[in-house]
């Protein structure tokens, strides 16, 4: 699965893109964030306040409770500030 990070999330985790093999028991974006945070202190720090995070699965905005079933690309980022 491809993971993408944008804006300060990208800076905090130290990369904009990585490829992972998703464990079978990680079923939602929240579970994915927990799994990544447990692996690395930088991720733990970046994902500490979940109210500051938004997500997309295969380029569609979703809530953090969304299922990862069938997902090929997951993006984690702050609330958007364009325009």
């Amino acid at each position: 699965m491809d993971l993408l990070y944008f804006a300060w999330v990208r800076e905090a985790v130290g990369t904009g893109h990585e490829r992972i093999d998703l464990p079978d028991d990680v079923a939602t974006i929240t579970a994915l964030l927990d799994w990544l945070a447990a692996r690395d202190a930088r991720y733990a720090s970046a994902f500490a306040d979940r109210t500051r995070l938004r997500a997309a699965i295969d380029q569609r905005f979703v809530g953090l409770d969304a299922s990862l079933a069938g997902a090929r690309e997951v993006a984690i980022f702050p609330p958007v500030t364009g325009g």
Binding site: L4, F6, A7, W8, R10, R54, A56, Q59, F61, G63, A75, F77, P78, P79, V80, T81, G82, G83
Partner: protein
């Protein structure tokens, strides 16, 4: 007609408006936003989500075209570094009558601020800071009575 462009480099306002005026007679409304310098910003950087951004803007434009029966809608958004006074975004709409063009133009810029994956970073002197999302932008998007995605 829907035209969406996300790219670095200056936005050519005259060329974009000529594009939308060419396809209609009646009303054209436009909105352009440029970088404000009045609060000490010396550089603005726009990051986006390639692919997802264009898809979000195209969906937004298609939504406006259907809702107001527009003859056309244009959304052009600059990305990368830019200076105060330079254009960040241009939205333009064409319709036979003015109310549709004006309302759709306001709709597009309001929704663009909450629905498309862009992030701004401001530089003031040596200080770089990611811009926080604003509650007023969510309120502006929500007045159109379609729930905004939670992003």
């Amino acid at each position: 007609m829907i035209h969406v462009l996300v790219a670095p480099g200056p936005i050519d306002l005259a060329a974009e408006l000529a594009r939308i005026e060419a396809l209609t007679a009646g009303a054209v409304a436009s909105f352009s936003g440029s970088v404000r310098a009045d609060d000490g910003v010396t550089l603005l950087e726009l990051e986006h989500y390639p692919g997802a951004t264009e898809a979000a803007l195209a969906a937004l434009a298609a939504d406006a075209v259907a809702r107001w029966q527009l003859q056309g809608a244009i959304i052009v958004h600059r990305v990368g570094p830019m200076r105060p006074g330079e254009r960040i975004v241009l939205v333009a709409t064409a319709a036979p009558h003015r109310a549709a063009a004006l309302d759709a133009c306001a709709y597009l810029i309001d929704r663009l601020k909450t629905d498309a994956p862009f992030w701004k970073r401001e530089t003031r002197g040596k200080d770089k800071r990611w811009v926080d999302a604003r509650d007023t932008d969510r309120a502006a998007a929500e007045r159109w009575a379609i729930p905004a995605p939670d992003a």
